[in-house]
Amino acid sequence: MRHLAWTNLKRHRHSTLIGAVAAGVLIALAYAVGALIDMRPLMHATGSVLEDSRLMPAVMTLAWILLLIFIVAFLIYLNTLLLARRTEELDMYRLLGMPSSRLGGVLIWEALMTGAAALVIGLVGGVLLSKLLAMALVRLMGFQTAIGIQWSLQIAGQLIGLFLLVYLIVGAVNAAFVRTLGHQRGRRAEAQHLPPRLSGWQVVLACAGMLLVGWSAIGTGNYFAWVRPLRQLTGLPGWGQLGLLTFCGILGTYLVFRQSLPAAAFLLARWRVVRRHAKWLLAANTLYQRWRRDHFALWLITLLSTLTIAVLGSAAMLLQLGQREVENSMPLPITASVSNDALVEKKAAGLITRQAKVTTKRMVGKTTLRRQGRDDTTTTLYQVMRLSDYQRIRQWQPNLPALQVAPGQAALVLSDPAFLRRGPAQRLVNAGRQITFPADGRTLAISDLTTAFPLGSAIYFDRGLVVADSDFEAMRGVNDPLAIYWLKETAAGHRVEQQLDDQTQIDYVRYDQAVRKGSKLPTMTKDTDDSFSRSGLNVRRPMARAVDTLFGFAVFITLLMGGAVLVATACILLLKQVTHAQGRAPVRRVLWQLGMPTSQLTGVAYVSTFGVYLAPLVFASLNAFVIVHFIASATAGQTGGLVLVVWAIYSLVDLAFAWLAAQLTDRYG
């Protein structure tokens, strides 16, 4: 029995190998994540940054369990794939008179042998991978901890137990399946490649598929003016519309693989130009068969890839967003309001290398601004700054723009970029608007607008204003001096920064009816309903580190999951490819005998293989782009740089698998 099992595995060595290696890689990933959770010093270090030592292990454990569920589901799906292509062979064993109990035993042996191989690959790979992952984690989260090779007997034991059980169950299910074989005999005699067909309703479904996918993308992204009224036709609330659009996308993608792509290949094969070049004709026909036959797997892969690219892209985008937010809110090492500079000077005594003071005035101002095509009048709190101070700050904060401010004018600093829209001739829509101050009846003309806060947005109650020095002296407001400190770049300096960061200091300022009318000035107060607040003490380094840690961790987890999905989908496609190539080998031989040059035969293999791999990648990229774009507009993030890099890496790995598959295909026949 064991011998027969071994022969069988050898006979299907390509698929056995692909299955075992893919399972091995996934088990290695599972081991590595498990071992990471077990690395006390690492978990401790992350805990200290995130201010909650349980968060990291908890999230990691959750990810681990999800990963294990995914792997088990994948192994089961893989098994059905492998078994489906062997029914003929198993049927024959039964026909030749092998008792089903014996054949079942062979299948259980086969499963256990594959499982053992996968576990060996997985555990050896896992030990190496765990070190690699730990190093990646340390880098992504930005701290220094030495990492050794991690051998966790407990995790290894758990994985061996779990996966041997899974393989045993898979083998047993296969053995049970063998008993049902006799009944199906004769039903499976259909030809390998049915002639291509295209009926009227197939054309309808093919068009419907493309329309659904297109509508789902356009509708989600809200790219055109006519989209909104169309979306509202359903009468659903916003989330309901999104749900419907998602459903459209999923259904449409299915139809695309089931109908649209085969129809396209069918029409392509009918085209005169294609028919006159065997390479393209054969490739189009192969693609027709592949898309039609494997539509379910391709659809599943597209959905998984969409999810992976979207999550990876979003994580990358959020990491960038977080870093930009830190840059925007605290660009300088330490900024403190007047109530906190004594504290800084005491704690950091002897460590301060440089310090500076900037005086601002708190004033209430009223202005009407245009935003998204509508005028809005707001009365709010402004921190007013001298133009000369602004110029001074630009030396330390080089990303601040040069502002055009003359006497009688003011440059407005606010956080919503929607106010910065430009009209004809690149002129700011809001330039030229008036701002009035009830406290002294003064009016200034807005000459410029920016979202870059000098000293960082964290030290502002709401908006900022840069005015000419002469105007500043004449304005009636409450002085609000701000201090900036640079500490020594030493361990002691960093420690003090950490201590200062732990002292949360919030400033409140009164904003009641009297203040709004200008009869009283906005002064410091306790927290009340009518008050503005700001962080009175901002330390950049610990904040930047916390953001790096948090988002780095998120990126890390999504990378892990993305890697698992990538391995699984690539493996499924590779197996389908090998199955197909084996079935297609006689045809390749015939073509060779008829005198088709080998270069052309190779061309067919490459074109058709890349067609099969590119279809899910293209649709997944399209879907993922829409999703990331949607998340970007919801969070004011930007789809650029890192998101593209993540997408490019994913695509490259996918194309590498396509190349491997094409190579394999080219070798058959």
Binding site: Q192, H193, R275, H277, L281, G595, T598, Q600
Partner: protein
């Protein structure tokens, strides 16, 4: 004019400790315009011979000249060109592509290397007319009868207008009606289009359509019979030779040939 020269051809399959001699120092030649049958007992090496002439297989020693070219001297690309342009092979298993229409199956060899000839439609119409396939061009092979499929395979071999047609038991899976039909098409090709045909068969009736039969046994040349009179007389000659090659004794009943 010599079109095929087989010169001391030997083919040995297997490796050092398990040799199977399929062809053993075989020599003969064929003139242009002949319709030659190859006969011999099962396992005599007939298919091997045809495959080597078609350059699908390679000889162990010896050489094959076709149209003045030594096949053993050609590289892969040149051999592919040779298969594409000089010979037309009608396989016993037909080897039609089930996902191509009859028309595409037939024109396939013309489209391997672009550009396809401009008279491709005219050539298709011509062979379809010759083999009575005109009404079937838009169908798929699975929608044809066996005899029709056999004719499609023949049409695919003919469309490149090869000087030499090789057929390995082309009537093997046909009933006598369909076989006669195909053979009369081949005869027509041989006479009207002046194509040289080499056909492997182990059926004396099929062989009687040829004008010369080469018998091989155990991979070596055994004898040959040339048609001189009627088909019936030729048929009897073939039966006699078959009896000799099988060690004599068995003499089958003569069917009527008309």
């Amino acid at each position: 004019m010599r079109i095929v020269t087989v010169d001391h051809l030997t083919k040995i399959y297997g490796h050092r400790f398990n040799r199977i001699g399929a062809l053993n120092d075989l020599s003969f030649h064929i003139d242009a315009g002949e319709f030659v049958g190859i006969m011999g007992p099962s396992g005599a090496g007939k298919s091997t011979l045809l495959n080597i002439i078609a350059s699908i297989d390679t000889p162990t020693t010896g050489s094959v000249w076709v149209g003045g070219i030594d096949l053993t001297q050609l590289n892969d690309a040149a051999l592919a060109k040779y298969r594409r342009e000089q010979v037309g092979f009608i396989f016993q298993e037909l080897n039609l592509l089930s996902d191509l229409t009859v028309a595409s199956n037939i024109t396939l060899p013309l489209t391997f290397v672009p550009p396809a000839p401009s008279d491709i439609e005219a050539r298709l119409a011509h062979v379809a007319d010759l083999l009575d396939l005109t009404g079937l061009l838009a169908r798929y092979p699975t929608e044809l009868s066996l005899g029709q499929r056999q004719r499609v395979a023949a049409a695919r071999a003919l469309i490149t207008q090869p000087a030499l047609i090789l057929a390995d038991e082309p009537t093997g899976s046909l009933d006598s009606m369909a076989a006669t039909e195909l053979l009369s098409y081949l005869t027509k090709l041989n006479l009207e289009e002046d194509r040289t045909i080499m056909m492997v068969t182990h059926d004396a009736f099929t062989a009687s359509f040829c004008n010369r039969i080469i018998f091989i046994r155990d991979g070596a040349y055994f004898a040959e019979v040339t048609r001189s009179g009627s088909r019936q007389a030729f048929f009897d000659q073939i039966i006699d030779m078959e009896a000799t090659i099988n060690g004599g004794g068995k003499r089958r009943e003569t069917p009527r040939v008309d």
